[in-house]
């Protein structure tokens, strides 16, 4: 009896291309809302991107009820509660997130607080805990990496309890995502490189991890093609709108892929490395990706080999093992080039991780749900071995 089964879910309307954000008021009205609670951060505001948003509202009949621009890099539950409070005070009826993963996740979590009419986010941790329909959420990413604009996940720090709270629910999916190249033009080279490698890691892990399915496969391969075509171009010339659009679409496709096929050991280790040593998520992924791929060679050489034509600049020769090694080498070549262009770290020791922290990272990583989807079984000892290789 064939016992295989997969699910695929992505209800997010995607508006991608030139002046995409100008369609925001139309989409708001289509969803029956007119007054936006905008969630962003100081960097986005400082780069002048909020003025693009404000211009989009001119003459639209919709308006901005409130702008919250103090979202920290790792959003905390206190931030979420503050956003929810402002939402109520200003009589908003929808959320608009403009920024990277932290802004988007903050808006998703504030949406839980509002929709469930609660002051205790902790009650909704885990999967499928939301009981009521959420408010419309519109997202304009300003980095090409997290894919949060199309995922059903939000991660928020509970600073009092000292834990990262993960929420997953189909109700957390945004209503619409606006992929507007104007929004990523000001992203600095090193952040462009790190977030781009985050997106590439999503795509590669989505392709070889256990929950892969034919639909996520096609999205993952599309993402890899777009990212390999344009990541270096974006780092070399941030004003290249075509390359920026490629990267934004690539990150989005990778987000759709991994939201349905999940990720593996690279993300488990990167989450723990970020939690313990505060290494940015994209940087940790960039360092760990080739080692995570190698860790899965015994179980997945054939699948990783399928990535070679999409990752390698020249056709890879030989059997599965040789072509899989060529795919891994192509990732190493890419990160080496990014290192030369903008200083993206190649080793954990270059990213501020000290050797005495490796064991704690390894122990934390085996409690990460991403390991469920990794083809190879990973114990704390296995995780430590990978970390030492990447150190």
């Amino acid at each position: 009896m064939n016992t295989s089964l997969f699910e695929f879910y992505c209800p997010v309307k995607i508006i991608s291309g030139a002046l995409a954000l100008s369609s925001l008021p139309y989409e708001m009205r289509s969803a029956g809302v007119t007054r936006a609670m905008v969630v962003t951060d100081a960097g986005v505001k400082g780069a002048g991107l909020i003025s693009i948003l404000e211009n989009a509202f001119d003459g639209s009949g919709c308006d901005i009820g409130c702008i919250y621009d103090e979202t920290p890099p790792d959003s905390a539950h206190t931030t979420v509660n503050r956003v929810a409070q402002l939402y109520r005070e200003h009589n908003c009826d929808c959320f608009v997130a403009v920024g990277g993963g932290s802004c988007i996740d903050t808006a998703k979590a504030a949406n839980i607080v509002i929709s469930e009419d609660t002051d205790d986010l902790m009650k909704f941790r885990g999967a499928d805990r939301l009981t009521k329909p959420t408010r419309p959420l519109f997202v304009a990413p300003t980095t090409a990496g997290t894919g949060s604009e199309v995922t059903l996940v939000a991660v928020i720090n509970n600073t009092e309890a000292g834990v990262k709270m993960a929420f997953t629910s189909p109700r957390l999916c945004p209503t619409a995502a606006f992929i507007d190249p104007r929004m990523t033009l000001t992203c600095p080279p090193k952040i462009t490189a790190a977030t781009g490698m985050d997106a590439l890691t999503h795509a590669i892990e989505a392709y070889y991890c256990l929950q892969k399915n034919p639909i996520s496969d096609s999205l993952a391969l599309t993402a890899i093609r777009l990212i390999m075509r344009s990541l270096i171009k974006c780092v070399e010339n941030g004003k290249d709108e075509n390359a920026r659009l490629d990267m934004a679409n690539g990150a989005l496709a990778a987000g759709m892929a991994f939201s349905n096929s999940m990720v593996g050991v690279v993300h488990a280790l990167a989450h723990a490395t970020g939690g313990i040593c505060h290494v940015p998520h994209g940087v940790a992924n960039a360092i760990l990706l080739p080692f995570g791929m190698e860790n899965n060679l015994d179980m997945r050489a054939g699948v990783i080999a399928e990535l070679a034509p999409h990752l390698c600049s020249v056709p890879a020769q030989g059997g599965d093992a040789q072509r899989a090694q060529a795919a891994i080498q192509a990732v190493r070549d890419l990160t080496a080039k990014l290192n030369k262009l903008c200083g993206l770290p190649l080793k954990l020791s270059d990213a501020g991780v000290t050797r005495d922290k490796l064991e704690a990272i390894a122990k934390a990583s085996i409690n990460d749900g991403a390991l469920t989807y990794n083809p190879e079984h990973v114990t704390a000892a296995d995780a430590l071995r990978i970390l030492e290789q990447a150190f």
Binding site: T3, G126, A127, D128, I366, G369, E376
Partner: protein, 175 residues
């Protein structure tokens, strides 16, 4: 094997209820005797409760770690800190009859987790140890990514636990 899934719901329910009770018996035994399980439980806070069950209102069992052992505290959902639910009884049957492993059930979206995901991962690792002792070795292949190596001591413990299982099931049925 397809015929199993055509059985009356009441029969499937009974199979799952007995399986959950057996998990309870084995959990208690291993939490007291198995070094690997003790090492896993060392990170657990005493009083932690977890539930295994079937949505929406199917059989369920709740367990509690007392600090010294894992106890089966009865059928049903009893205020757990973390719970793993099968979305339907057929998915539970796939796991409890050893056709797929717990990780495969998760990968195939057959389960839903309620509560802290770190606690859920710890629960899954502990459950894997229970499954290794409950299921015969020849069935381990599809159940684990890396089938456990069971030496003489582990086999001895497994034999003892299996001999105690019928009495434990009768005892748990009374809860």
């Amino acid at each position: 094997m397809e015929k199993l899934f055509l059985l009356d719901y009441k029969v499937k329910k009974k199979i799952v209820e007995i399986s959950l009770a057996a998990v309870g018996v084995m959990f208690r035994k291993l939490s007291r005797r198995c070094p690997e399980m003790k090492a896993e439980l060392a990170a657990w806070n005493p009083g932690r409760r977890f539930t295994l069950g079937i949505l929406p209102d199917g059989p369920a069992a709740t367990f509690e770690y007392t600090g010294a052992e894992v106890r089966y505290i009865g059928s049903g959902v009893k205020d757990p800190d973390v719970a793993i639910y099968f979305k339907n009884i057929d998915s539970a049957l796939l796991v409890f009859t050893g056709q797929i492993g717990a990780h495969t059930a998760a990968i195939q979206c057959r389960t839903a987790i309620h509560g802290d995901l770190v606690h859920a991962m710890q629960m899954v690792r502990a459950m894997d140890i229970v499954v290794a002792y409950l299921m015969p070795g020849f069935m381990h292949g599809p159940l684990f990514k890396r089938p456990p190596q069971m030496g003489f001591k582990e086999q001895l413990l497994k034999t003892g636990a299996m001999l105690e299982l019928p009495v434990g099931l009768i005892f748990n049925a009374a809860k």
